[in-house]
């Protein structure tokens, strides 16, 4: 027994081994491939199968895409140029792109107008979508719908100006009367707006040339522009309406509750295409002959109803997911109903509902192609109707539908990416 260490010739290291790089087979591309693609026999087989599949796909696709013809008069011309070689007939895109984007009848010299409206859409949407931006930009967002209407439809600038003024008047009247009672001020606001629009309409009719752009009738809207108009307008209208419906459905007031439940259940129980047929065909029978109730407006109303009902149910899911304690906490703070909703309940419920709302929005945007069934020339309608029925391009399928799919994919993927970013930004739970 001794406390001196026995000398057993053991090696004791006093300094640390310098870090050496991991083995070559575990790093870089090789390591990644080994770990992810060939980690075991089964995965290796799958990898090889996938590679074979991709190769076949690309061997078909790449020559078709890069060998494509971009300048030709017709599909027969394309075939002459290709002379048996493999390649797409993309000439249809270069000759008819303007019809695919703007529809067949929108005046060509006015293409800058919807284009400008499209660019400004991002400016207007930015402060809504990104809360870090200067709040003053919201002023532009408020003006934007009227500006875009003027740009796309044309006509005198007085129409959108008075449209905007109507809302301003309604707000001022509502604000002035709000100390009396909610109902009276709301009615006052509506009356104020209607009077403004009526007077404005007469003034605008008197001077139709003031700052007028060439007027384009709704019938001439088409192409992807029509899908964008319908999608943007209907989504932005149906979210607030959906919130109101969802709250109404939870209301204690029986009449409001019944109205909301009946509306939601009725609209959800009917296919969108039926509503569109009603808008297009059936309404024509019930309006006096000669009435011109704008078709796009009818379609916007129907699509908005439809998506509002769905969004209401999504938001109701969010409301139901909140613990009861949140409602009670709001009550215990002495907040009244609007305050409780605005400050406590809705911020949380809407956050939960984001994926659902985006899902509806993306679905709705793609559903706008259904208007081709009621003979409106949206992107799908233009392809199915005028372009595939022209003597020049009858028989070109992949190029056209691929282009349409690409446009829709870009927009829908963009929406989905934004929503994921928003979810990450709003994630306040500790997971």
């Amino acid at each position: 027994m001794s406390d001196t260490p026995r000398n057993i010739g053991a090696f004791v290291r006093h300094d640390q081994i310098p870090e050496s790089p991991p083995p070559a087979s575990e790093t870089g591309i090789v390591g990644w491939v080994r770990q992810n693609l060939f980690s075991n026999v089964f995965n290796s087989i799958l990898t090889l199968l996938a590679l074979y599949f991709i190769y076949n796909l690309m061997a078909d696709f790449l020559p078709w895409f890069f060998g494509g013809v971009w300048r030709a008069e017709s599909i027969r011309d394309c075939r002459d140029i290709l002379d048996g070689a493999r390649g797409g007939c993309f000439a249809v895109l270069s000759e008819r792109w303007h019809q695919l984007i703007f529809g067949i009848a929108y005046p060509q010299e006015a293409y800058w107008r919807p284009l400008l409206a499209f660019v400004l859409l991002f400016v207007a949407a930015a402060p809504v979508l990104f809360s870090d931006l200067n709040r003053k930009l919201l002023g532009f967002t408020a003006i934007y719908p009227f500006l875009a209407f003027w740009l796309i439809w044309g006509g005198t600038i007085l129409n959108p100006v008075f449209g905007f003024l109507g809302f301003v008047v309604a707000y001022i009247v509502f604000d002035r009367l709000s100390h009396i009672s909610f109902a009276i001020s709301a009615i006052g606001g509506v009356v104020g707006a209607i009077v403004t629009w009526f007077v404005g309409g007469m003034i605008a009719a008197a001077v139709p040339e003031l700052l007028a752009l060439e007027a384009v009738p709704s019938r001439d809207m088409g192409g992807f522009m029509l899908n964008m108009i319908l999608g943007t307008v209907c989504v932005s209208l149906s979210v607030p309406i959906g919130i109101l419906l969802a709250l109404g459905r939870q209301s204690d007031m029986p009449i409001i509750k019944i109205i909301c439940v009946v509306f939601i259940e009725f609209v959800r129980g009917v296919p969108l295409i039926t509503l569109l047929f009603v808008a297009n065909v059936v309404l024509a029978y019930f309006l006096p002959p000669g009435t011109n109730f704008d078709l796009i407006l009818r379609v916007i109303i129907m699509i908005t109803f439809f998506s509002a009902a769905y969004i209401a149910e999504v938001i109701r899911g969010g409301l139901a997911a909140l613990p009861r304690g949140q409602y009670e906490a709001a009550d215990s703070l002495g907040l009244d109903y609007p305050q409780a909703m605005r400050l406590i309940i809705l911020p949380q419920a809407l956050k939960i509902s984001i994926p659902g709302i985006v899902n509806v929005a993306v679905g709705l945007f793609k559903d706008t192609t259904l208007v081709s069934i009621i003979s409106m020339f949206d992107l799908v309608g233009v392809i199915r109707g005028p372009i595939l029925a022209s003597t020049e391009w009858n028989g070109v399928y992949w190029e056209l539908w691929g282009f349409a799919a690409l446009l829709f994919f870009v927009v829908c993927f963009g929406i989905s990416q934004y929503s994921q970013w928003l979810e990450r930004k709003l994630a306040t739970d500790h997971r």
């Binding site: 017709s74 599909i75 024509a284 029978y285 019930f286 002959p289 009858n394």
Partner: protein, 355 residues
């Protein structure tokens, strides 16, 4: 069968629904317009300065807008002819694209003044739906297309063939009738649209493709090697296509009817867009003179200018010229005149005399 078989597929259902809505609509319209004097369509069009003409959303050779958005085609020419007769301007037309489902309501509700949309003239459409077919601008019928290498020369040789056919249509019923009457068998390959049929047929999923003869010709024209396919001589159904107007406005119906007839008569009388100016100076043929308005008061009887028919032929051309430039043998569609030749050439075109 008029714009593919598709439209008839829904016809039964549609017509049942339509009856209901027509009744409802008629009541509504009647109550709304009670008291208000109903002006004739002719006066409406003149006052508006534009003709609202319903066309298809697109059918090769019959109606489609070109790269500049200008509508052209065989049916479109009828619209332009009426606009020329009434307003003197072939471009004074607002083309309203309609689908098989929306066309009749568009006409009944007054959204359009006339419909020139390769619509088959049938009993129930004429009588029950309260429309008036004013004539026939194209005699169509259901036909068969087969690859040449099959060596088939008659539809009766098709025993045991697989047939691509649009489902739920009268083409399907016509086909069943035809094969049963000839006591031969076939196997249907159901397809939804003409666009779907094209690649299926080319890939050999079916031996035969059947639809309207004009549709077959247009489909064949889009093939890479049209010469490898033949359209069989048998036509197994009657599909008279023509423009139509609402029941009850006979003055307007007359204008559309005689605008079409003037083009047919002009071809029979040898009046073309080239020689019309010269013939309008006066000829020895009194019927040509009456047609072109240098003799008699035919235009006045219709409520039009005396030179209404001359304007049609000058701006649009006679029936033969319109046929040749849109769907005739010089075009990629390459339809022969067939039944659509003048009665003097063994066809069915027969305009009543201009007298």
């Amino acid at each position: 069968m008029a714009d593919g078989a598709a439209e008839k597929s829904v016809a039964n259902q549609e017509e049942v629904n339509m009856k209901k809505s027509v009744i409802l609509g008629a009541v509504t319209i009647a109550s709304l317009s009670a008291g208000a004097a109903v002006a004739g369509t002719l006066d409406d069009v003149k006052a508006r300065g534009k003709l609202n003409c319903g066309v298809t959303t697109g059918l090769v050779g019959f109606a489609a807008p070109d790269a500049n958005g200008e509508w052209e085609g065989f049916d479109v020419a009828v619209c332009r002819a009426v606009a020329t007769a009434v307003l003197g301007d072939p471009t004074a037309v607002e083309f309203v694209p309609t689908t098989g489902k929306t066309r009749f309501t568009a006409l009944a509700s007054g959204e359009i003044d006339m419909l020139a949309r390769n619509t088959t003239w049938t009993f129930s459409r004429d009588v029950d739906l309260k429309f008036e077919f004013v004539g026939i601008n194209y005699y169509d019928g259901q036909g068969f297309m087969v690859p040449k290498e099959l060596g088939v020369t008659s539809a009766k040789d098709l025993d045991g063939a697989t047939v691509c056919i649009q489902t739920g249509t009268t083409t399907e019923l016509n086909l069943a009738d035809f094969f049963r009457a000839n006591n031969i068998s076939y196997e249907p390959v159901p397809i939804e649209t003409n666009a779907e049929a094209q690649p299926l047929y080319l890939d050999g999923a079916c031996d035969v493709y059947t639809t309207d003869a004009s549709g077959l010709a247009a489909t064949r024209a889009a093939f890479e090697n049209p010469a490898d396919h033949v359209v069989l001589p048998e036509i197994i159904s009657k599909e008279p296509l023509g423009p139509l107007v609402r029941h009850g406005d006979h003055e307007w119906g007359d204008v559309v009817r005689w605008s079409l007839n003037s083009m047919i008569a002009a071809e029979e009388l040898g009046v073309t867009s080239v020689n019309v100016a010269e013939l309008a100076g006066g000829t020895d043929n009194p019927e040509i003179n009456r047609l072109l308005g240098t003799e008699g008061t035919l235009g006045e009887m219709l409520g039009l200018e005396a030179d209404w028919a001359k304007n049609i032929i000058m701006n649009i051309g006679n029936y033969g010229e319109v046929f040749e430039s849109n769907i005739g043998e010089a075009t990629p569609i390459g339809l022969a005149r067939g039944l659509n030749a003048q009665w003097t050439d063994g066809g069915l075109l027969y305009s009543p005399p201009f007298r």
